[in-house]
């Protein structure tokens, strides 16, 4: 004769856990574990913590600093902003040479050179004074007040010549005297 008594919750739980011991087959275990090993063997990765932007919040700040510095340097190195040291050094080059270096396109038509001496006849044409040499006619720029005293006469002139394509086309007289 059997006497059946009700079980309480704890007894049910305990009984279930004692009786419930089913396990997957060892073949299935092997299959799953083999797959797990294959997965990591196919793409090995480091055990060390993976570096990411989240772990290194300072890196974006460093990158931004480099970017700003690079932009600054690039701006400093733009050709139009470069001033050669030789040209800013005082007394290292003559004024005409500096002008020629700074604006060669302007100096092409009217070059400025060291004072030169010319010999020729002083003439006036169309309100402009000219020095007529044996080779060419040279325009006298900013003629001196007494230029009229030398009109139609041979004179010895010293001044800065303006050239174009190697030829003297004008002169700024520093000194003039009869030849």
């Amino acid at each position: 004769m059997s006497h059946k008594s009700p079980l309480n919750d704890d007894a049910i739980s305990k009984a279930y856990q004692q009786q419930s011991n089913d396990m997957p087959s060892s073949a299935l275990d092997d299959k799953i574990l083999a797959a797990s090993r294959r997965a990591v063997a196919a793409k090995p990765t480091s055990i060390a913590p993976k570096r990411s932007w989240r772990n290194m919040p300072f890196l974006p700040a460093i990158a931004a600093s480099f970017f700003v510095a690079a932009v600054f340097v690039a701006q400093q190195e733009e050709p139009e902003h470069i001033i050669p040291q030789a040209e800013v050094a005082p007394m290292s080059i003559s004024a005409p040479a500096l002008m020629k270096s700074a604006a060669p396109e302007m100096m092409a038509e009217a070059d400025v050179t060291e004072p030169l001496q010319f010999q020729g006849k002083i003439e006036q044409r169309d309100q402009q004074w000219w020095l007529i040499t044996s080779e060419q006619d040279v325009l006298i720029e900013s003629p001196p007040r007494n230029i009229a005293d030398f009109e139609h006469q041979q004179a010895l002139v010293q001044g800065h010549a303006g050239t174009s394509e190697g030829e003297v086309i004008s002169i700024v007289i520093q000194e003039i005297k009869l030849n």
């Binding site: 279930y16 089913d22 997957p24 299935l28 299959k31 990591v40 990765t45 480091s46």
Partner: protein
């Protein structure tokens, strides 16, 4: 005792994601029984349980690199298992058996005697009774006794209310007490 034996499940999974195959083996040995029995009690068929068990662990292997320990590892594992089981039932036209809404179940939902006897021939009396519980009650019972979750964790995992979860466990225990008795 090796260093890895001291690690939590979450750390083991992270290590596996970084290529440590031994970490996975530890996790598998620790949880394979619970997961397998979770499926076996629901399906009552070893071949189906093995298939589902295999699927879940493969999902876990494939998710190794994206795993983030935002919750307990076991919560993640059994959430995967729960969802996979729901999908399995849907595919097999049994969606209603694992529809985890909060419908109150009738108290007198015991399996019929012939079904009970058939199962009892194949397994112990208590195991058979568990397998014959209504799906929702069985789910709560198994998550409680195979995975060791609290009622609150089970409620979260199954997306049910705490009260409904508590009721299901109470119904399950009541039915098991009715179906199982011992001889002193």
């Amino acid at each position: 005792m090796t260093k890895t034996e001291l690690l939590t499940d979450e750390q083991l999974m992270l290590n596996y994601g970084k290529g440590d195959a031994a970490a996975f083996e530890q996790l598998y040995q620790k949880h394979k029984g619970g997961v397998y029995r979770y499926f076996l009690r629901h399906c009552s068929r070893a071949d189906v349980a093995e298939e589902l068990h295999h699927d879940i662990w493969m999902k876990l292997i494939n998710a190794r690199e994206s795993y983030q320990p935002t919750a307990k590892f076991t919560t993640w594992l059994y959430t995967l298992a729960h969802n996979h089981l729901v999908n399995y039932y849907r595919k097999n036209s049994k969606a209603q058996t694992l529809d985890f809404d909060d419908i109150v179940e009738p108290e007198d939902e015991l399996p019929d005697l012939s079904e009970q006897l058939t199962h009892s021939r194949q397994a112990d009396e208590l195991i058979s009774q568990v397998e014959l519980l209504p799906a929702q009650q069985k789910e709560v019972f198994l998550l409680r006794h195979e995975a060791g979750f609290s009622l609150e964790e089970i409620a979260n995992l199954t997306k049910s209310s705490f009260e409904a979860t508590k009721s299901r466990l109470r119904y399950a225990m009541a039915k098991l007490k009715q179906g199982v008795s011992y001889e002193p």
